[in-house]
């Protein structure tokens, strides 16, 4: 029997959901136009007035917001309420340029935490669960978001934050944690550490994990599920749109239900901005529907994915999005070819290598170079140079087949690729240094 946190929303009919969205969108657009000069100017430039937006069918009339707009408007330019009404700030790490700062009123925090509560409930969480939150706490949205959601569900919450992995495992054993929330790369690391400590999944009580904030693959899901003895679920969100919980996976594990009573989703052609029909692959665009402090209308996420209203066996009617298939921020153009790190990761896992890798891109005599360092596992090691060189070559060929360009593959010793305990750093692009 599936559990819902807010069944009236999560299982609403399409008409009911449309009605909610129409009503909220009209209000949200007016709120933004009245309070955010930056966006009002964009609307005026396009000749769109709040009166032109009467239902979600009018959404396409609104101008887009991009990451560049967020940078231009930093820090207060998109704030839609008085600072005295705000109670919280969260921020991105700022690894790809200027950081993004998002503001929350108490109502914004509550709605965000409700979204996370839906996600926790969808993986079987109840007030009998012990939820270990090993996302980073602080400006990063992962820890605070899932922490709040866990409280709302009534789980006993362990606010561990990330790091100190042996202590994580001790707490997991002593306090019988049943749900783990962290980044997928940290979940994989906890799995490895468990093994290194001589323990097996039978020694812990985890049943489910909610992993997000970075791209991961189906192979990685299977690895994590095996090493921790759990079901691993995806969760999606961006600091700009509040944080994790914009969408979440249910027991079907075939994509994430979008909390579309709060976030209206569109797929557009990233080149032309044209709205694409359901089922098309394109850039995901979100419009917040009831934000007070930091509403974003038609915000281009840069994530490439597909939306689907296909009936889900869990009973939820919320529209589903696929795992992002790539991100224009992560996309590298190497020798004229579009390369996503997730493609390389897929090959590595398929060929039996660990998901710990480092991609280095550089430029030598006007030609791009692609070097991939991969950790060798003890099982793969042999005593002859011939065998190991053949392994490097085979892997380079498999990657070439996937990408269309040849990389140089370097086998390195296990655990030598620096692993941050939060977001994984997987790409170093040195070309920018020479420009």
């Amino acid at each position: 029997m599936p559990n819902y946190y807010q069944p009236e929303i999560e299982c609403a009919s399409l008409d009911e959901m449309r009605a909610i969205q129409n009503e909220k969108l009209v209000k949200q657009v007016k709120h933004v136009y009245d309070n955010v000069e930056y966006y009002r100017n964009l609307m005026d430039e396009k000749g769109v007035k709040p009166e032109d937006i009467n239902s979600i069918d009018d959404l396409h009339k609104l101008p887009f917001l991009t990451k560049a707009d967020l940078r231009d408007a930093y820090p207060y330019g998109l704030l839609a309420t008085d600072l005295k009404n705000c109670v919280r700030i969260q921020s991105t790490s700022g690894t790809t340029g200027r950081r993004v700062v998002a503001f929350y009123t108490q109502k914004d925090v509550d709605l965000w935490e409700e979204c996370c509560a839906r996600a926790i409930t969808a993986v079987g969480g109840t007030n009998e669960d012990v939820c270990q939150v090993a996302y980073g706490y602080g400006l990063f949205t992962g820890g605070p978001g899932l922490n709040g959601g866990s409280h709302k569900v009534g789980c006993l919450t362990l606010p561990m934050s990330s790091g100190n992995t042996e202590r994580q495992i001790q707490f997991m054993q002593d306090l019988h944690s049943t749900i783990l929330c962290c980044t997928p790369s940290y979940a994989a690391f906890i799995g490895e550490t468990l093994k290194d400590m001589g323990l097996t999944p039978d020694d812990i009580d985890l049943k489910a994990g909610i992993f997000g904030a970075e791209p991961w693959t189906e192979e990685m899901r299977r690895d994590i599920e095996k090493s921790l003895g759990i079901k691993a679920y995806d969760i999606y969100g961006l600091t700009e749109t509040s944080g994790p919980g914009v969408s979440f996976e249910c027991e079907e594990q075939t994509g994430m239900h979008i909390n579309e009573d709060h976030f209206l989703a569109e797929i557009i052609d990233p080149e032309t901005g044209e709205v694409l029909p359901e089922g098309s692959k394109g850039e995901l665009v979100f419009t917040s529907l009831d934000k007070e402090a930091f509403p974003l209308l038609r915000y281009r996420t840069r994530d490439i994915c597909v939306l689907s209203r296909k009936k889900c066996s869990c009973g939820r009617t919320l529209i589903k999005m696929t795992k992002p298939m790539g991100r224009s921020d992560d996309m590298m153009i190497i020798r004229g070819v579009n390369v996503f790190p997730s493609q390389i990761e897929t090959v590595l896992l398929k060929e039996g290598y660990s998901p710990n890798y480092l991609i280095e891109v550089d430029r030598e005599r006007n030609t791009d170079t692609l070097d991939i360092s991969v950790e060798l596992s003890p099982e793969q090691f042999t005593d002859t140079v011939k065998d190991l060189s053949a392994k490097e070559k085979d892997l380079a060929n498999a990657i070439k087949t996937m990408l269309g360009i040849s990389p140089k593959v370097h086998l390195v010793a296990p655990k030598t690729i620096t692993r941050s305990e939060g977001k994984a750093v997987r790409v170093i692009d040195r070309r920018k240094l020479h420009d």
Binding site: D383, T384, S389, H410
Partner: protein, 140 residues
């Protein structure tokens, strides 16, 4: 008929080999033979020692990745042509030699280590030519 060789994966970075050999010494593993094969990216350190089991455990403990291989050790006399004679016997028997290196035992004199594709056939061919292959205890 054969002896145990431990191979250790070494990254081709400054100090990595020193780190591994220091670690081995600190764990009281007395190396009797050592050879290094390397490429641009990595090296393989090959070790013959008295207690391969203890050595392997110590290395694993230290986070190194290792593998144990059975290799042939053949006593070699100090005169020209003795290595050629062994290689001829192996070639005659269609044995592929992956690599070979020398090894000096205080107890038993000079040896050559051979890593071949088929220990059984190689040892038989050598025995047929009157060349004996050593056991672990012959060396220490």
């Amino acid at each position: 008929m054969s002896v145990k060789q431990i191979s250790v994966f070494i990254e081709n970075k400054k100090g990595k080999l020193a780190e591994a050999t220091r670690y081995i010494a600190d764990n009281n593993v007395n190396m009797k033979a050592l050879s290094i094969a390397d490429t641009q990216d990595f090296g393989i350190l090959r070790i013959i020692c008295e207690d391969p089991k203890a050595a392997e455990e110590a290395l694993k403990e230290g986070g190194f990745i290792t593998t144990v291989t059975d290799v042939l050790a053949v006593a070699i006399s100090d005169k020209p042509g003795s290595l050629a004679a062994i290689l001829e016997v192996l070639a005659e028997a269609n044995i592929v030699v992956e690599y070979t290196y020398a090894f000096l035992s205080a107890k038993a004199g000079a040896y050559m280590i051979f890593r071949v594709d088929d220990n059984q056939s190689a040892a038989a061919a050598l025995a047929g030519a009157g060349i004996k292959t050593a056991n672990q205890e012959d060396l220490f």
